[in-house]
């Protein structure tokens, strides 16, 4: 037996190395696949409009320039004015959605995790099922509804819609966190005289902070990147959020690729930074429900 082990080890070493090399090559290819488009975006954004349209292309810009960024961030010209307004609109809508989503999702997720009321299962399935339906199915009636409520061309229409469509996942994510907080902690607090609500507020809420952070990031990124509803509900130029605003803007200036790439970069920056800073919570929340069983 003891003489067998080293023999086996030497026999298996070579295939392991083969797989390891395969893995390395695979990762390099994936890195290229992922990074090349993003690098090309950055390189294009620091070219002049003329330099971007050459064949063969300038692989590295001959005269790198930040002109496109200056133009987008300068409030004194019309391009910068529009871009900054879109940016502000996106920020406002995303922040409002995030705050409301947390306020509504926290109690709901807690109830789904802790209580055993009749209809709980049905409701939860409804919540899960909502996740399956694309926005387009709801678009026509929602458009009618928003017209009825006088919300067309307001940020209110977007906030209400994003809130609703973000809720199922927000509740699902948060429920995973509450499931992991031992019920005994609350019971102990209640034996010590706390009401159920006090136990929830003082014991459970602080413990679920990572879950709430994760849910908040998810809501924020979702609202920031949303396109269909904003595209349908908003018409006035001063109301547009970034995705629609950029599209509208560049359908008029189809050849300004450096400007377009700079705008894409600026638009991606907030969510990427947010994600990189808080990815631990985010990833954990997303996978919590899926791997538990």
């Amino acid at each position: 037996m003891t003489s067998m082990t080293p023999l086996v080890a030497t026999r298996t070493r070579r295939p392991i190395d083969g797989w390891r090399w395969f893995g390395r090559i695979f990762l390099v290819l994936m890195l290229l696949y992922t990074a090349v488009p993003m690098i090309w975006m950055l390189l294009t954004s620091i070219k002049s409009g003329f330099a971007a349209m050459q064949l063969p292309p300038q692989w590295w810009p001959n005269e790198p320039t930040l002109a496109s960024y200056h133009k987008l961030l300068d409030p004194t010209n019309s391009v910068g004015q529009d871009f900054l307004r879109f940016f502000w609109n996106s920020l406002f809508v995303s922040t409002a959605t995030t705050i409301l989503a947390v306020i509504v999702a926290v109690p709901a997720a807690y109830a789904f995790s802790r209580f055993d009321f009749p209809g709980r299962k049905f409701l939860f399935f409804a919540v899960l099922l909502r996740n399956m339906f694309p926005a387009v199915i709801f678009l026509v009636p929602l458009f009618i509804l928003m017209r009825l409520l006088g919300l067309v061309n307001t940020h209110g229409s977007l906030i209400v819609t994003y809130l609703t469509f973000g809720l199922p996942l927000a509740i699902w994510l948060l429920k995973g966190f509450y499931d992991n907080i031992p019920y005994q902690l609350e019971q102990a607090a209640r034996i010590d005289g706390a009401t159920r609500f006090q136990a929830f507020l003082l014991i459970v809420m602080p413990l679920s902070a990572p879950g709430i952070i994760a849910t908040a990031i998810y809501s924020f990124i979702g609202a920031w990147n949303e396109y269909i509803f904003a595209y349908t509900f908003l018409n006035r130029n001063d109301q547009l959020t970034l995705p629609v605003g950029i599209q509208r803007f560049f359908s008029e200036n189809t050849t300004d690729f450096p400007g377009l790439m700079a705008a894409s970069f600026m638009m991606s920056l907030p969510v990427v930074v947010l994600f990189l800073l808080l990815q631990r919570y985010f990833v954990r929340a997303l996978t919590e429900g899926a791997v538990k069983h």
Partner: protein, 319 residues
């Protein structure tokens, strides 16, 4: 103390099992307060629109969307859809788009998760870079890829010409034959990170001892993957594949911004087609009928989705 609470719990459970549904509802009336805000919001913004979509699908509504003037046409909208050639074209596109995107996103995600499962310097940075495409806005990403695929100045075309593989830059998204594959390459770029995240988490549930035991017993790397790792990933794989399939089926932004469904419907999928029928051509009735059909398909998928998500919970409880 724990035994006391457990006893209290058990007696409570027995009590609720004995009483009727109405009484239970009354006993738990305070619990509903927690879910009430969520229910109210969802009823207004989800239940009402579903009802309305079904209703509109049986009517012809004028382009101005004046609901007073709508005319009842029965199932006419549905038969119009099934008779049109575009329907079958779009259905085939949707099928290819969903299937191919899901398969490749899953395989690449699994590969990346496995390759990153070994500890090495720079692993965290690499993982973060691979996730970025999934985080950024699909609109921004669409413009990036539109630029890369540009028929005159696109970088891929320039590389192909530079390597002597093509005389002139190919038309990736302006020709019927290549548009769908080109869009799928882009779509997979955006989606494989999601599969990678899910499967990375799944890999952490594979017990180390089992892998080591298998190694000692002389199992090859492939055998260890197939007989130890893979069975542990089945639950999370099912959920991931379903979520990928649903989100691919529901894609809108990528085809809409990249091509708007063109050229000659070659990249129209159901969702973009419905959008164009409704808001492009104001054919509200036909668009609603399409939505109802879509709804039925998704309900079927949803059945499996809920089963996959809750199957584990039931097992856990049974144990």
């Amino acid at each position: 103390m724990t035994t006391a609470t457990r006893l209290a719990d058990a007696s409570l459970r027995i009590k609720t099992e004995q009483s009727g549904v109405l009484q239970q509802t009354w006993t738990h009336r305070a619990d509903y307060l927690y879910v009430l805000p969520a229910i109210v919001v969802m009823l207004i913004v989800i239940a009402y629109p579903i009802y309305y979509t079904v209703e509109l699908s049986f009517f012809n509504t004028p382009p101005s969307l004046q609901l007073r003037d709508k005319i009842f046409v029965g199932l006419n909208n549905y038969s119009l859809i099934l008779q049109s050639d575009v329907f079958w074209r779009v259905t085939a596109n949707t099928f290819i788009w969903t299937l191919v995107s899901t398969v490749f996103a899953f395989i690449l995600g699994l590969g990346a998760a496995l390759a990153l499962n070994r500890d090495f310097a720079g692993r965290g940075v690499l993982r973060a870079i691979l996730i970025i495409p999934w985080v950024i806005s699909a609109v921004a990403a669409s413009y990036i890829w539109k630029w890369i695929y540009h028929s005159d100045f696109g970088v891929i075309g320039a590389v192909l010409v530079g390597l002597g593989l093509a005389d002139r830059p190919p038309n990736f998204i302006d020709s019927v034959g290549t548009v769908l594959p080109s869009l799928i390459v882009f779509n997979v770029w955006r989606e494989f990170p999601f599969a990678m995240i899910m499967l990375t988490a799944g890999l952490q549930t594979v017990p180390d001892q089992l892998l080591r035991a298998a190694k000692v017993d002389g199992a090859s790397a492939w055998q260890r993957f197939w007989h130890v790792t893979f069975p542990h990933l089945q639950g999370v794989s099912t959920v991931t594949i379903l979520l990928l399939a649903v989100s691919n089926f529901n894609s809108f932004i990528i085809p809409w911004i990249m091509t708007g469904g063109g050229p000659s419907n070659a990249s129209h999928i159901w969702i973009t087609h419905i959008y164009e029928l409704a808001f492009g051509r104001q054919r509200w009735g036909v668009a609603s009928a399409y939505s109802v059909l879509l709804f039925l398909i998704l309900m079927t998928l949803g059945y499996f989705y809920v089963r996959a998500l809750t199957g584990g919970e039931r097992k856990e409880r049974g144990a």
